[in-house]
């Protein structure tokens, strides 16, 4: 048997830590997904899954986190933490990690406007690796042979595998950094699977101190507005109507909105090109630089289906594509394809869908067999 290098120094115990996210006391779905992913990692290493939640008047949220899979929840409950602010949240997380006898093995956050704001601050402070926007996480071994830095050579049995699509390429990259804990990653909302809710599940809840300094208040939040009524909850929609450059102009989205209105729980998505052109706000963007969605139905209108868009929606239950260009890449992965003019097809869809809703169309459809 070949001699194995001593790896004990590289294999500190450490648990899996999820940093929860709430907005105005509203626990974000990505936290439940992180607890699902974190549970698998912790079980694989036989470690505990811990969760840190920051906020104000959090009530029964810590217990909810335990029921969602955490073994122990640390709670920073303070008036100053009511709204998310980089510096106070950063201070509490850094102090908390410093207070632990050993750093967590893995630290996970959501790839949200909050997680992507906070995670890089923590990683830069501790000079530890951080991988953004992961779509898969795993634990596994890694043998480092590269001689550029001999101090890193060795076999690492338990590494966080942070897996994400690689830029503009049909590749997935496995990124890791086992040399220093915590190994950090953010995951895309809507990708990981939450644990089954376990009502009454027992776990430890520990309050942690919040000690801010005057410099932490260099930024204050004047207002937090949630536009619930506007309902651009792309990641939660059952049906998404996506619009691309093939619409020709911003007005095309009016037509797509009419189509969306014929569906339950629907939302409007968009390709990056049309967001960059200002046809529709960024919040609607689906794809690599936008949101990752997996609705039950995705109707792509005038979207070519470039990889940057595809990575954000290819897991949709059913994809229907309408495009003028029969060679469009979208027809390579859609389930149903129509080659045609959006301005002829979409109004026809609206018409026939409305007929079905009013009861008229059912016969027509069945009868056409």
């Amino acid at each position: 048997m070949s001699e194995q290098p001593d790896v004990s120094a590289f294999c500190p115990k450490g648990d899996v830590l999820v940093i929860a996210e709430q907005i105005l006391g509203d626990l974000q779905p990505v936290t439940l997904e992180l607890l699902g992913a974190g549970r698998l990692l912790a079980d694989k290493m036989e470690r505990n899954l811990k969760c840190l939640v920051l906020g104000y008047n959090l009530g029964d949220m810590p217990q909810k986190l335990i029921e969602a899979g955490a073994d122990e929840v640390f709670v920073a409950d303070d008036k100053e933490l009511f709204s998310y602010r980089t510096l106070p949240y950063r201070r509490v997380v850094v102090d908390f990690l410093d207070s632990l006898p050993e750093p967590p093995h893995t630290c996970l956050l959501g790839s949200t406007t909050t997680g992507r704001d906070l995670a890089p601050r923590i990683s830069a402070h501790f000079e530890t690796g951080l991988t953004a926007d992961c779509t898969e996480l795993d634990i596994g071994p890694y043998e480092h042979k590269n001689k550029v830095d001999p101090s890193k050579i060795g076999l690492y049995p338990n590494c966080l595998y942070a897996i994400r699509p690689s830029f503009g390429e049909s590749l997935k990259a496995r990124i890791l950094g086992p040399w220093k804990n915590p190994q950090m990653a953010t995951t895309r909302p809507g990708v990981m699977t939450p644990n089954k809710h376990e009502a009454g599940r027992k776990g430890k809840i520990t309050a942690i101190p919040v000690k801010l300094i005057p410099e932490d208040h260099r930024l204050i939040v004047a207002d937090t507005v949630r536009e619930i009524s506007k309902g651009i909850k792309l990641t939660e929609a059952d049906v998404i109507i996506g619009g691309g450059y093939g619409l020709g102009s911003a007005d095309g989205f009016d037509l797509l909105r009419q189509l969306a209105d014929t569906f339950e729980n629907s939302a409007i998505g968009a390709s990056r090109k049309v967001v960059d052109l200002g046809w529709i706000p960024y919040q609607h963007q689906v794809g690599q630089t936008g949101k990752t969605v997996r609705p039950k139905l995705y109707i792509a209108c005038g979207i070519s289906g470039a990889i940057q868009h595809r990575v954000g929606m290819s897991k949709s239950g059913m994809i229907i594509a309408i495009n003028k260009d029969p060679d469009s890449p979208i027809f390579k992965f859609a389930h149903h394809g129509i080659v045609g003019d959006i301005y002829q097809i979409v109004p026809e869809m609206i018409k026939q869908f409305k007929e079905i809703q009013s009861g008229k169309g059912v016969e027509a459809v069945v009868g056409s067999h």
Partner: protein, 280 residues
């Protein structure tokens, strides 16, 4: 010049994925052949920096890190009205991850001078991490506003609006401040004819150009080479694998008219279950 703001904008040259040049048939990129461009997200940061200068006075300095051809995007920044530019170019930076990149760039910022406002694009199209901006802010000990979609200054403070999930936050921040600018900010204005002409003339005389674009290395900014490049990067790409085939076979619908086409889709799919009023 006194009193004006010291404004920085951090920019990166990325491969142009929009262009077919340099794209292999399998969708991977041939980086040697690929066209290069200013990271599209940085265009919003550039607009924000120029807006700050026009509205509140001061000077805009663009900073980039990359191989020598990255001068191209700095020229583009000058054409748009940036006053001066720095390119950190050093072989020892190769294979830097976000942490090592942020380390090097914060050294450049410390070297050039005291910033009031630092603008970054939300993220790059090649790295796609959105990490370097906040990591620089951490190194410099500054507050930050990420996902900023609008801002103005009042009594020396920055009033900004930042995107959050399903809404927005309004924040008031002291300077110095680092801001990452969202796509929903104003698009970059067209460059003025005069600006572009001035720069084109400049570019003809390398000596003259060097007064506006400074190429610098790690030693000059007192950066520790051990903390950059592969050595200074806590993460590595351990493996890549092909993404599995997607979707499967697409059923192409045929028909003489829009009516027939839509009817054919309805017949072949069960999408009517998602229509309003169809749930049990």
């Amino acid at each position: 010049m006194s009193g004006g703001l010291n404004i920085y904008v951090l920019v990166k040259q990325v491969p142009d994925t929009g262009s077919k040049a340099g794209l292999n048939p399998d969708g991977t990129i041939d980086r040697a052949k690929a066209k290069r461009m200013l990271n599209p997200f940085d265009r919003f940061a550039l607009q924000a920096a120029l807006h700050a200068k026009r509205s509140y006075g001061g000077k805009v300095t663009a900073i980039s890190m990359g191989p020598p051809p990255a001068v191209e995007i700095l020229l583009e920044c000058l054409e748009h009205g940036v006053d001066e530019a720095y390119l950190l170019s050093d072989r020892r930076l190769a294979a830097s991850d976000t942490l090592a990149t942020a380390y090097a760039l914060h050294k450049v910022l410390n070297y050039i001078g005291k910033p009031d406002l630092i603008f970054c694009g939300l993220q790059t199209t090649d790295g796609d991490t959105a990490q370097v901006g906040p990591q620089i802010a951490e190194r410099l000990g500054l507050p930050q506003v990420t996902y900023c979609e609008d801002f103005h200054m009042e009594d020396g403070k920055v009033h900004a609006r930042r995107i959050i999930e399903g809404g927005y936050q309004k924040v008031v921040a002291e300077t110095p401040l680092l801001i990452t600018v969202a796509n929903s900010y104003h698009p970059l204005e067209y460059k003025s004819f005069r600006g572009a002409w001035r720069v084109r003339r400049l570019a003809r005389d390398q000596d003259e150009l060097k007064k506006f674009i400074h190429t610098i290395d790690l030693d000059l900014v007192s950066a520790d080479p051990e903390r950059t490049g592969l050595k200074g990067s806590p993460t590595i790409v351990a493996a890549t694998e092909k993404v599995g085939e997607l979707g499967g076979s697409c059923k192409m619908h045929e028909g003489q008219s829009a009516h027939e086409l839509v009817a054919d889709v309805l017949k072949a799919s069960d999408l009517n279950q998602f229509l309003v009023g169809s749930s049990k």
